[in-house]
Symmetry: D2
Subunit: 420 residues, 4 copies
């Protein structure tokens, strides 16, 4: 390919574009944990499509299956028709995800994005319960369409709605209150009939808040939440769009707590290859949808069904990926902990392969990302004040690549903190 | 492949599934205007992914480009990073779509669905104007997420929201009132400061309502609408998700009226190959987004950028596709008109390659579709009462295929109407 | 009394004050159709407290009863306790208003204002039907609290809400569309399940829109409306706050159409003496309120119950008031008609003792009111553009007073139109 | 008067009636702290019109002024015209309420109920700030119209709205969390831009929650709240409808905390005689109303202006009423405290002449009220579970009457608790 004009983005693409501002180059190809720009410069990717590329860029196993499918003129676009590819995927979900965990979920194919899965989940919860209010958590991120945005925390993104966002009430996430017991307010508000909090249809929660700043909910907090909901007939929705598909170790991030949510949303890495796809899992008795009640054009991205199925079969037929994720996460965690001991004003938190380096001086986090980019590492900030450098490498990253990336990160911290 | 178990859908997939109920088989492969099920039976596809497959299934020109890109490890998933594939697509949009028509639009890549494009368009219109109300039209269909659903007409789909849908007020679409002048109410309501209609941010309209029953807005009605909006500082959003990309003849369906909408949404066939992708075009001065104000994971489905670019270059570098679409549309229209002359209680309407056969007895339309399916033709109903058989073949369908499909349709009408 | 400082209003009273700007003096006493300011200047009152003083200021019959009650230490403030005064009033309502007309209404005492009666009516309609949407009409006025404001037309007043006003959709009032048949849009929108108009709980309507510009709904239009609602299970609420209590002739303004609304709101003149009081009448089977579900402190203004009862007994035991109202209305109408024949750009409309003089040049209406004030007549404008001089004298006004007031009005028109 | 038919209420009055169920008799006359039913039985009134009759029933000083005014044909109903009576009242408010306390408030006359004052206050706060969200508190009560109801806590009353109540978020009131520091959640939620809590226009608070269960906010809590609001540019609205006019001792209940709210609502006892009237006080610079932007028929209940003025002059020209209120409150408090020491499962709380007796077994509170009624004492329950017997005697009650009433109350507790 000839060189693309970088200026076309400035001239023609909307100001809304974002990541391209953090990483000002024009990318061309990618493989595994590496991106290459059109000048041939390589970048180690510790962002992985915001958690969409858990199996790496253009994973060769998935790639071959995808190309074979395309070559064979398999159905590419299938609306919600029954297809061979979908049947295979459903069987694989049943055999590898549901049955082994004792889950009796029905599977919905909503539009192919996390936001759409969240919209579907909220609609279903409201329909089933006949209630309108949903409880969400501080620093939550669930998407940009109107329903998903109403349960998202970020003020700037909320303001983009252009209408007041209603029917959602935020509650403090684990750790938000700097106290051991974070449910005192929520429980009292739910149980006093004059609290002014209308009985909610559902609670929606992420087990680790990626966009919100790598905030990690403890297993006991999640269990407590599940019990609160269950005892009051409130549906528990776990939004596992970013933390599911093994990001924190087990396939479902909530497995650590031993809970069974009423509804689960999946997207990002579920398709395996970075192709748009999303799922909603719901307890069988909650599947009260009427046919076509929530539809959409791209619910049948069969190319993604193929890569989804192969990814599940290749990576989730045994425990190896989970074990390696936890080991790699520990590797990163140990390194970051050491960093926090070397530099004041740093702390770290995370679970599995989502790890955060938190800067007391938020502006330093952005600077670290910029320096890291210049040195060939892609990392991004998150959190209310962009105060957290978030590490989200592919789960298939090698130990050497981790070591390489952490070296660049350490160098970037040194440059930002020490000026050299 | 071995035979897929059809029962897995019943056992595992949510009741919300829809098209698979109309076409009860398991599809496997597809090419051009044809789908083949796992038993080897062929079906002529006059639905084309609800307008997503204007260039046919697995179009060989696009397929080759896609496979080449995959083989070469081109960026598959790119968030909103700048990529070579995106630069090429933007240049192509500029050179083939915008410059020749004198349009000065900026291009936004929202999430990869029509609903997401609509959500983005509504948010932008509200943000830019500082107003909340949007006018939509009777029988409109714009999507299932909360913002898009609020401007959608269908009562059953609206009820799925589980919350009251607000900030939108419906107005009569062209022809809804059986009168020549349909804007009398809208104009009076806008111009009387005590009408109770809050001044709207925008009007959102489809030029032909596909889901709504193949309702066709006249060019002069669209011009009148554009003038009404322009004179009052109300933004005009044309939702060209289904009717754009040449479905009605010209690339943009509103070209027939000579108008320039303030905002245009595109999805479905814009990606060319049925891969999820969407665009929002907005007048340059309306691009008041802050960076990241409307984001989302799957805005950078670069595989779709490749097929989008190739589709534009291959089909829209000259007038041939537009001309053939109009000719094929005339072919179908003539045939349907003859049908309406043979059978009482039938009428027809459409534009280009979206054509409808309307049954005074709505139940017959569903029966016709079922019989057509049994005879190897995929068509679907639309309209408030499912009273319209909608014909939406790929634009690349051949004249012979059209003749074949119309033959099956005619036979199905005969069977339903005459009982044999 | 000594002279009050006029400046205290400027210094201390909120800018929201309104009528005092139109009539810039300090009033002191009042009797019948006359107000006297603290300088001893008399003003003939053709506004009557915006229809609150149908029986005149300090009507001596009511006054004596009120003073007797106060002297006897009758319950003044009674919440919603059962009192002798309330029992008497209920019996009187039953005997004089309900039984003779064959109405089987239950009676609710909401807070003592028209807005509160409307809020109660809307809540009840939504509760009973389980629906949220209410249809209102262009140029409607129903009050300033959030629920009542949402069904009010005036844009400036709506903007005061500070939140988007939702759950209401305006429809064209009789005459709004300059066409004979005004229900074509409403009927089509209600009957097409894909119109985007959610099935409403209720329609709320005034039979004559006082604030809206003395817009008069024809009896056949009201009948048509009642039939539309009845056939579709939509509740019909007649807001008779301003037009009830005999303003248009019969006690209930809707009697002219022979309809029986599901819910009726009354306030303004129901208390007789200008004391705050309101009622909601509802068909017996609609009385699905739980005890205390809509409460409020001032539901038991027993002083008003006394004057209400006496007013009903004194004025509504026979047909004389109705007859005299119609005669006086005809007197005014004839005079205004003559005026419209003398001056171009004038027209007139009204019913009973609500009559409007409409100016094609809206600014003249305000000028006429100002000149009339200077000449000792209180009249006010109404309508979207304040283009209507509204005449709303007490029903007890004498023919001589009418003649006197019309003389001043005519003089004011001459001065404004001819400059002398 | 002859005996009123008690059955008319059952037959004709809506089921929504409430207090008449607790006190099943037909009241006729009243004087001071006593009500008399039509059988001649006397009841000592420790409810005082839910705080509306702070100066007692038919207070002779006010009564004489009212009768004089009526006899003299003073303006009774004045819309918002300037009148002598209003000027006098404004001057009195200025001289006795504002200037001595250093308050620079403008005065708005909204519709004559507390709910209307709250609606006006919320509208103004939203208009001035351009924000929509309001924070309210658990167990709050602010009224039944849609805007006021949205900030009210009680679930049953909220459900009556028939639409989701939005734009308000509840926060824990002082003591709700059984912790010393109740603002931790509110402060964190306000200060984290990703908390999901949109920046509020205002906070609305009662200093003592009468309906909510006689919950008493400490002075330091109120000061803390005022500081939180002030530091963040959030308006503080004190709803002093029930606790103002001396109920807790000082005229404004918030004087105890030394704070100056941005907006204050007054109603109930402000009119003095139980006549409907309400006020909104707002800091001068917040008076950004446009003329007529919030109007209403009964804003000029001039009869109430007369009794309001006389009440202020008679009772608030010196400190005696405040002192006696505190002394009487202490009397009651001591007695209730003694009761709680005699009976397990009782506790007491209150301020000035609003005192509550709290029953651990909520059902006993209702029984105590019923027995008290039978013995000639009117008291009512409040609180989420009706677990609090609320004592709200007129401020003009005598020490002997207090002793008498407490005797009945004690007897009722004994009967309910000991069975004799």
């Amino acid at each position: 390919m000839t060189m693309a004009e970088a200026t076309v983005f400035e001239a023609l693409e909307s100001n809304v574009r974002g990541y391209c501002r953090s990483w000002p180059t024009v990318f061309d190809t990618a493989r595994g944990a590496w991106l290459t720009d059109q000048n041939g410069k390589d970048y180690l990717d510790f962002f992985a499509g915001a958690g969409t590329l858990n199996y790496g860029h253009n994973n060769p196993v998935l790639k071959q299956a995808l190309i074979d499918y395309l070559v064979g003129d398999g159905i590419t676009h299938g609306l919600d028709m029954s297809t061979v590819a979908k049947a295979r995927l459903l069987e694989t979900i049943r055999d590898l995800l549901l049955v082994p965990r004792g889950f009796d979920y029905k599977v919905q194919f909503p539009g192919p994005t996390g936001a759409n899965a969240v919209e579907a989940a909220l609609k279903l919860a409201r329909k089933v319960t006949g209630r309108t209010t949903v409880l969400n958590f501080t620093n939550a991120f669930h998407g940009m369409s109107l329903g998903a945005l109403s349960v998202t925390g970020n003020a700037a993104k909320r303001a983009g709605a252009g209408v007041p966002l209603v029917h959602a009430t935020p509650m403090p996430y684990d750790g938000f209150m700097d106290e051991a017991e974070d449910f005192s307010w929520m429980r009292r508000a739910l149980d006093d009939s004059s609290s002014g909090l209308d009985k909610p249809a559902a609670v929606i929660v992420e087990t680790v808040q990626g966009e919100g700043g790598v905030n990690v909910a403890r297993a006991e907090w999640l269990r407590h939440l599940a019990e609160l909901c269950s005892a009051r007939g409130i549906l528990l929705i776990v939004d596992d769009v970013q933390m599911g598909c093994g990001r924190t170790g087990p396939f479902f991030s909530f497995e650590i707590a031993g809970i069974t949510p009423d509804i689960v949303t999946l997207s990002k890495s579920i398709g395996g290859y970075g192709l748009p796809m999303a799922l909603v899992l719901m307890r069988r008795e909650l599947d009260q949808w009427a046919p076509g009640e929530h539809n959409g054009t791209f619910r049948g991205n069969n190319a993604a069904f193929i890569t989804a199925e192969v990814a599940l079969r290749h990576y989730w037929s045994d425990q190896r990926l989970e074990a390696s994720t936890l080991a790699k996460g520990a590797h990163i965690h140990d390194h970051l902990t050491a960093l926090t001991e070397s530099f004041a004003g740093l702390s770290t938190r995370g679970r599995g392969l989502v790890q955060g380096l938190v800067f007391a001086d938020a502006s330093q986090a952005t600077k670290v990302c910029r320096v890291a980019f210049e040195h060939g590492l892609l990392v991004e900030t998150s959190g209310s004040y962009d105060e957290v450098v978030k590490l989200l490498p592919p789960l298939t990253v090698t130990e050497d690549e981790i070591t390489h990336g952490l070296g660049i990160l350490t160098r970037a911290v040194e440059i930002v903190r020490d000026g050299h």
